[in-house]
């Protein structure tokens, strides 16, 4: 005889942030394991965990009930379970009301509002609240929930509950508050409670649950607990049967556009697409493009995605109308429709890009179009979307901030009452993803044998990947044809005037909902600023579309690695690759952008590709059938699309299966699902006559670069910006640098390095001057006048005062400037130190002395003794640059090492230019300022450092042993000496470090901000 099961109706997953101690999947899985027919996920004031629970329930075949524990104004709560779709809408609406009126992280509604949203919902009353009102509203859909957790107050509470229920004829249903799937998680639940209340487990007292009776029970244990009332247990089953709603019922339609002339969205999309195609082709549309467009449009119609494309078109049109530079990125560049609508700028037909990477019939999910927008004006586009669709129909997607190793160690440790400074020491030793280990604990001075530290180890590891709080996705929007709050609750974000839905992008994707990504990109801002400068200053009209392609001088410059400030190809690693790859065409840049990535590097693809490109190795294909797939990358797979095609051609994958392969590649570290492709790929390739060795190698490459490889389409979009940047730097360096300085912060290098690099290109700079400088940098003749935005400590409001005063009259003196602007002493001081008063005072020191006294009254005015004049020594060249750096982190007067060059020469230390010309293998001593320290995960612990002087850069290779030996110097010293051997190959010069030392100089040059370990 089998015992009848029951249904747990009150389960909170870790979607009830810092309360539930199990993942939703764990709860569903455990319910299935216990043989329960259904399980309810009822997170507090939300539906955070239901998508993950839904997917797991589908996987294991269990019925999922959706609900929520809703907080009421008076501090009590009620449990609401969704009966049908209308109930789900009502629940989302109710939670949204409660959330939007409350501070981030809290929610509350009134009993009356609960009653108003009763349709389609079952209510489980938990002793508090007006039972009469609820009985009238919910009728037979109201139950009294008798919870038993073996607490001392249980009997008393249940007695009161049954009395009330009996009075209003409300049936009693059995149920426990489930906070974890297994009682082993009780410790973690205590820790979460302590974290939530900002206390320690030792002092949390009765904030903690009194026992471990808040887990899922077996049917036997549950029935035994309610042995005196089996009817209440049976009622859980009948109640579960009433809840028929499933998330699969959410059929999402994209916002309906008002279409001209009564056209359907498909007709209108086709019209716009072919109109765009004619614009792109300058007249007739070639056959291959026409065929591709028709194929894409047919699929879009079949999948009913027309509205989505029209919306993206609307957004892009808004950007165009308002001169906001934007460009589609990612897989959208595989679509000719996107190209013709102006969403993307790469012609996929010409590039031979794979449309299935973007949209596929086999894949039941909508396309993903990411739009890069110049970062300074992204907010305008966001506001446009809000205005066009209304705040009800447009909400930003959440980013669920989850516990990683460091945050887990910090929070668990604090809850255990451990010293926060010691925890910080431990946290710093951990990598981003891997949890603490016995070794890391020992390394941080903890004793892993003590109980406290063992708890820390165990609980911090369990806490990994738990949600901590909700944040906002950088630019993801969910748009709906009906109010979004009927789809998912909306709540307030931390940022003012921003609302966010309760699901993240993975949830959206899993449910097949559409989202629009509006991402800010600094490089587009810089390009926009540069185009404007060229127009205003030089009368040159240029745009992304009109930049001359395949410019010889530009590619020559790129081959020389002179790419400081050029999008995507400016990093140390990219610069080291450029002379080897020697790009001469746009497509070479596409490869350059893609190849310096962890995927191709760990997949062992870089060197074979370079050897083949340089003719050092024959171009071969493992099978003739793979030639079309791998031809453009010389037989080496470099892009995600190639892997997908390879699977289609060599292993007979359908396009949908190939896309699944891509997804599994991307998530292989987490899920390990890639393994299921191994056998399929290898055996099918073997069957087609491809060598086992190649088949295995392909599989290894897939796992290697899946997570970090670029899709070709994405690289193609980025390469367009790279080329535009490079062209402008090559032909208009002053305007390029001026725009780059005004678009900061962005890119790889500090403003100081950008300025020094420009100086080496012949760009002239004028220092800040309170009489003439604007907030931004400006062009004065051929020179760049530095803007006041670079004066540290000077605010935009200070600038507005200066501008207003200067607009009336030019400043006559420091006193005049001080009087008319009303700037405070701090602002006057920083201006004096930056040299902005050079027009009024002979030296910066005397300006500083004066600035400190301008805003202060004389202390003894009644004596009216005039202040004695004081003279201060002038700044020497070294001091001038040092003051510049202190005041504005850069100098227009020179590089910090320039005044020291003679001293360095005496010490027989060469400059960077001399090092660059040295022969391979020569021993060298060199000293420069550190601008970059990097240890890529792909480099087996090797640290790369870049040093700079007034003539250029010197790259160092520091082997792990040497880095350990000189760790303090390597990590902390801004001005560093190095002894080592020159390694020069194909114009790429490194010094392989033998020794690091501190140069002995009487003067210490200013440090340049270094980009360290990113």
């Amino acid at each position: 005889m089998t015992l009848a099961p029951y249904v747990p109706l009150f389960c909170k997953s870790n979607g009830s942030f810092l309360e539930g101690a199990s993942h939703p999947e764990e709860l569903v899985d455990e319910a299935y394991r216990l043989g329960l027919p259904s399980v309810a996920i009822t997170d507090r004031d939300g539906v955070y965990g239901i998508v993950k629970a839904h997917l797991k329930a589908l996987e294991v075949g269990i019925h999922l009930i959706i609900g929520s524990q809703v907080t009421i104004h008076d501090g009590s709560s009620i449990l609401l379970l969704v009966e049908n779709h209308e109930g789900y809408r009502n629940l989302c609406r109710l939670v949204t009301q409660g959330r939007l009126r409350s501070e981030k992280g809290s929610s509350s509604v009134s009993w009356r509002e609960v009653a108003e949203h009763q349709k389609g919902l079952l209510a489980l009353w938990i002793l508090q609240g007006p039972l009469k009102l609820l009985r009238e509203a919910f009728g037979s859909r109201l139950y009294a929930l008798a919870t038993r957790h073996r607490c001392d107050v249980d009997v008393q509470h249940e007695k009161a509950l049954r009395e009330q229920a009996s009075k209003y004829n409300v049936p009693v249903v059995a149920g426990m508050e489930v906070l974890y799937h297994h009682r082993e998680r009780r410790d973690l639940q205590d820790v979460l409670t302590a974290i939530r209340h900002g206390t320690t487990v030792r002092s949390a007292g009765r904030l903690l649950k009194p026992n471990a009776e808040f887990g899922l029970r077996t049917p036997i244990a549950f029935r035994e607990l309610y042995a005196d009332d089996p009817v209440a247990v049976d009622r859980t089953l009948s109640l579960a049967e009433r809840c028929t709603f499933s998330l699969q019922e959410i059929r999402y339609r994209y916002p309906a556009e008002r279409l001209p002339n009564g056209r359907t969205s498909t007709e209108y999309l086709a019209h716009l697409t072919f109109e765009g195609a004619r614009w792109r082709c300058g007249g007739d549309v070639p056959d291959d493009m026409r065929q591709q467009l028709q194929k894409e449009l047919a699929l879009i119609e079949e999948l009913d995605y027309g509205g989505y494309f029209l919306t993206m078109y609307e957004i892009v049109q808004f950007c165009r109308r308002n001169e906001i530079l934007c460009q589609g990125r990612g897989s959208a560049a595989n679509s000719s429709v996107c190209y013709c609508l102006g969403i993307t700028a790469v012609d996929p037909v010409r590039m031979g890009l794979l449309f299935e990477r973007f949209l596929s019939k086999d894949r039941a999910e909508p396309p993903d179009i990411d739009l890069d927008i110049m970062h300074q004006r992204r907010e305008e586009v966001i506001q446009f979307v809000y205005e066009k669709y209304g705040r009800d129909r447009a909400a930003m997607v959440a980013n669920v901030v989850r516990y990683r190793s460091r945050s887990a160690v910090r929070d668990v440790g604090k809850a255990l009452g451990l010293s926060e400074t010691s925890l910080d020491r431990l946290a710093k030793l951990l990598s981003h993803y891997d949890g603490p280990t016995v070794e890391s604990l020992s390394g941080a001075g903890f004793d892993p044998t003590t109980p406290d530290h063992q708890h820390l180890l165990r609980l911090a590891n369990t806490l990994l990947d738990f949600p901590r709080h909700l944040s906002i996705h950088p630019g993801g929007f969910l748009l709906g044809h009906e109010p979004v709050y009927q789809l998912v609750p909306i709540e307030n974000a931390t940022m003012e005037d921003r609302t966010v839905i309760q699901w993240d992008k993975d949830d959206i994707e899993a449910l097949g909902l559409f989202k629009v990504d509006l991402l800010g990109l600094g490089a587009l801002t810089q390009l926009d600023l540069c185009f404007r400068l060229l127009r205003e200053h030089r009368g040159v009209e240029l745009s992304m579309a009109t930049i001359p392609p395949d410019d010889e001088a530009t590619f020559d410059m790129i081959c020389r690695s002179e790419t400081v400030g050029v999008f995507q190809i400016e990093s140390r690693a990219q610069m080291a690759m450029l002379p080897r790859l020697k790009p001469r065409h746009y497509y070479d840049l596409v490869i350059e952008v893609s190849i310096v990535r962890p995927g191709p590097i760990t997949g062992g693809m870089v060197h074979p590709y370079l050897r083949r490109r340089n003719g050092e190795e024959p171009i071969t294909y493992p099978h003739a059938m793979l030639k079309p797939v791998l031809e453009k990358t010389l037989g080496i797979p470099l892009f995600q699309e190639q892997v997908m095609r390879l699977a289609v051609v060599a292993a007979d994958y359908t396009p949908g299966e190939a896309d699944q392969l891509r997804r599994d590649m991307a998530a292989w570290r987490k899920t390990g699902r890639i393994e299921r492709h191994r056998e399929r790929l290898v055996t099918r390739m073997q069957a087609k006559g491809i060598a086992t060795e190649f088949a295995e190698r392909v599989f290894q490459q897939i796992t290697g670069f899946g997570e970090y490889g670029f899709p070709e389409s994405h690289a193609a979009s980025f390469a367009l910006i790279s080329y535009a940047d490079a062209y402008l730097l090559c032909h208009y360096p002053a305007e390029f640098i001026c725009a780059l300085l005004n678009a900061q912060p962005m890119g790889f290098y500090s403003p100081a390095t950008i300025i020094d690099d420009g100086r080496r290109r012949g760009v002239h700079y004028l220092p800040v001057d309170v009489r003439t400088s604007n907030w931004d940098c400006t062009m004065v003749g051929e020179a760049v006048r530095m803007g006041l935005r670079y004066v540290k400590g000077l605010g935009k409001n200070d600038w507005e005062r200066i501008e207003a005063a200067r607009h009336q009259n030019a400043f006559a003196s420091m006193e005049d400037c001080s009087r008319r602007t009303g700037l405070d002493e701090k602002a006057l001081t920083v201006l004096a130190e930056a040299g902005a008063f050079q027009g009024f005072e002979a030296t910066r020191r005397s300006a500083l002395w004066k600035a400190r006294g301008l805003r202060k009254e004389d202390p003894d005015t009644f004596l009216s003794v005039p202040e004695v004049d004081v003279s201060f020594p002038e700044l020497d060249p070294f001091e001038t640059i040092a003051w510049d750096y202190d005041a504005s982190s850069h100098s227009t007067h020179g590089h910090p090492l320039a005044p020291l060059r003679e001293v360095l020469k005496v010490q027989r230390l060469p400059d960077a230019r001399t090092v660059a010309g040295m022969r391979n293998g020569r021993r060298v001593r060199y000293a420069g300022l550190v601008i970059c320290r990097q240890r890529p995960g792909t480099a087996s612990g090797v640290t790369f450092m870049t040093l700079e002087d007034e003539t250029g850069f010197v790259n160092l290779v520091v082997w792990p042993k040497k880095f350990q030996e000189y760790a303090v110097l390597a990590k902390t010293t801004p001005f560093l000496g190095v002894t080592g051997k020159v390694q020069s190959e194909q114009s790429v010069v490194h010094i392989v470090v033998d020794e690091l030392w501190k140069p002995s100089l009487s003067l210490e040059p200013n440090r340049i901000k270094s980009r360290d370990f990113h």
Partner: protein, 497 residues
């Protein structure tokens, strides 16, 4: 000639930290504002400095430079306490010691009157060395400058390690003027400006106009300027001596009788109260210290219900206490001392109108109970926020009874009496022909029970899992029992009345 010395304990809070954690001396260590990762670093030891860690860094950022970094916060109260202790120690070398006040940004600075010591010490060098040795014994590294002026001795002590003794004013001044400005207690903002203006030494500083300094950098810098110029009269203001209220006597042979002891106590106590009365003070606490014949000591503290000068009352309390004492050997020396408080009108009042229910009498009774049975004799229950019955309250000493007790009216509540420590019950027999005899034949078998309710937790210290029941015995008694899962035993927590 007036001589003045300055004792500097550089990086005083850091030295305190390393005194607390001697094992950190070999590691990079810093003093932080508070024990938080984002806390600012205030003081840095040499080893941390070698890693590039500087004051003003955040602890979290400094950790990036070395994972070995140790950090601790030093409270102002702790610094203050140590300053008092050092002041007392320095008083062994001169009666006049002035610890630096708040305007001197670095604690650990002391000025000493070095005049007229030639009869006590062979030379000022020896005097200075002995000061350094004394502080060295307290584990402090110090520098000492003996000169003529407050500023001169201070500047030199700050800039030079070890001991420096000046023979004449000119030499002191010359040395002081060469001291780098960065060594002096100048606000960081002004310090930074002086560096920029190339005002590097005291000599450069003195060239700046006093009025200009006052206008730009405020009175603190201007005052230092005046002090350095010799324009500011700044006499030594020594810390006042702490008065002690002690009376002691050697007893005529070992005394064991409490009556005899009381007789001697009374003699000392009367003298002590007279002394306090003369200074308008009253006694808040009475300390008794007996040295016994076996060289051991016995110390007792007595608290009257209110500060008093009433000798009979105090003697009454002493009597109660002495009667409870069991001396291992006879007392050979007796010391009584007082914790004084300022005398109030109430304490002086002779004519008192005594109400019917005089709270003072009640408190006096408590004082007598404390005197006879010790401080823990009069306690009250303070409610705590724990789950286990024993963790829901704690006993705290009751000083005075509240003026009015709230009494609950209405429904009659059951009283649960909790045993101080749960009583172990005999294991439950497998065969219970007469039922479960929880407490033997006297109470009969268990007739009914309610439960279990479960209390479990404390995993971070010692895991507890108890299943609680209320059991009703045949005789009608209701007991509160639990089964301890880990100890596998039944316990009696209390009973219900």
């Amino acid at each position: 000639m007036h001589r003045l010395a300055c004792v500097d304990i550089p990086a005083f809070p850091l030295q305190l930290l390393l005194k607390e954690h001697p094992d950190w001396r070999v590691l990079p260590a810093v003093v932080v504002v508070e024990e938080k990762p984002q806390a600012f670093i205030l003081w840095v030891n040499e080893k941390a400095r070698n890693f590039g860690i500087r004051p003003g860094h955040r602890y979290a950022a400094a950790l990036a430079l070395t994972r070995e970094l140790r950090a601790g916060a030093i409270s102002e109260a702790y610094v203050h306490k140590e300053v008092i202790e050092i002041t007392e120690r320095l008083r062994c070398f001169t009666p006049n010691v002035e610890p630096a006040g708040e305007k001197w940004h670095s604690p650990g600075l002391f000025w000493l009157d070095a005049s007229g010591l030639n009869h006590l010490f062979p030379s000022l060098e020896v005097w200075g060395q002995e000061i350094r040795s004394a502080l060295d014994a307290m584990n402090f590294f110090t520098s000492v400058a003996v000169g003529f002026s407050r500023f001169g001795s201070y500047a030199v002590a700050r800039a030079h390690r070890g001991l420096r003794v000046f023979e004449n004013r000119d030499e002191e001044e010359r040395t002081a003027w060469r001291v780098p400005l960065t060594r002096l207690d100048i606000p960081p903002d002004a310090q930074e400006s002086f560096l920029k203006l190339k005002v590097n030494t005291v000599e450069d500083f003195l060239r700046l106009p006093a009025k200009g300094l006052l206008k730009r950098f405020g009175p603190e810098v201007a005052e230092l300027h005046r002090l350095a110029m010799g324009d500011l009269f700044s006499p030594l203001t020594p810390a006042p001596l702490r008065e002690s209220h002690v009376q002691s006597m050697a007893l005529p042979g070992p005394v064991t009788s409490s009556e005899r002891l009381l007789f001697f106590v009374k003699q000392l106590l009367d003298a002590l109260l007279e002394d306090l009365d003369a200074k308008s003070l009253a006694l808040a606490k009475l300390f008794l210290r007996l040295e016994l014949d076996d060289h051991s000591f016995l110390e007792e503290v007595l608290r009257p219900d209110a500060s008093t000068l009433d000798s009979p009352l105090l003697i009454g309390l002493v009597r109660l206490r002495l009667e409870t004492l069991r001396l291992n050997a006879g007392a050979v020396e007796l010391l009584v001392s007082a914790e004084p408080v300022r005398k109030t009108i109430e304490q002086l009042s002779l004519l008192e109108e005594v109400p019917k229910r005089d709270p003072r009498r009640r408190n006096r009774a408590f004082a007598r109970l404390r005197a006879e049975f010790g401080d823990a004799a009069v306690v009250q229950a303070e409610l705590l926020d724990g789950h286990l019955p024993g963790a829901r309250f704690q006993w705290t000493p009751l000083e005075k009874l509240p003026t009015r007790m709230e009494t609950s009216r209405g429904s009659r509540s059951l009283i649960r009496r909790i045993y101080e420590k749960p009583m172990a019950l005999p294991p439950r027999s497998r065969h219970e022909p007469d039922g479960w005899m929880l407490r033997g034949l006297e109470f009969g078998p268990v007739k009914d029970f309610l439960g279990p309710y479960i209390l479990s937790g404390g995993w971070w210290k010692r895991t507890v899992q108890r299943e609680y029941y209320f059991v009703k015995m045949q005789q009608g008694d209701v007991f509160w029992v639990f089964y301890d899962r880990f100890r596998r035993r039944w316990f009696l927590e209390g009973r219900v009345e």
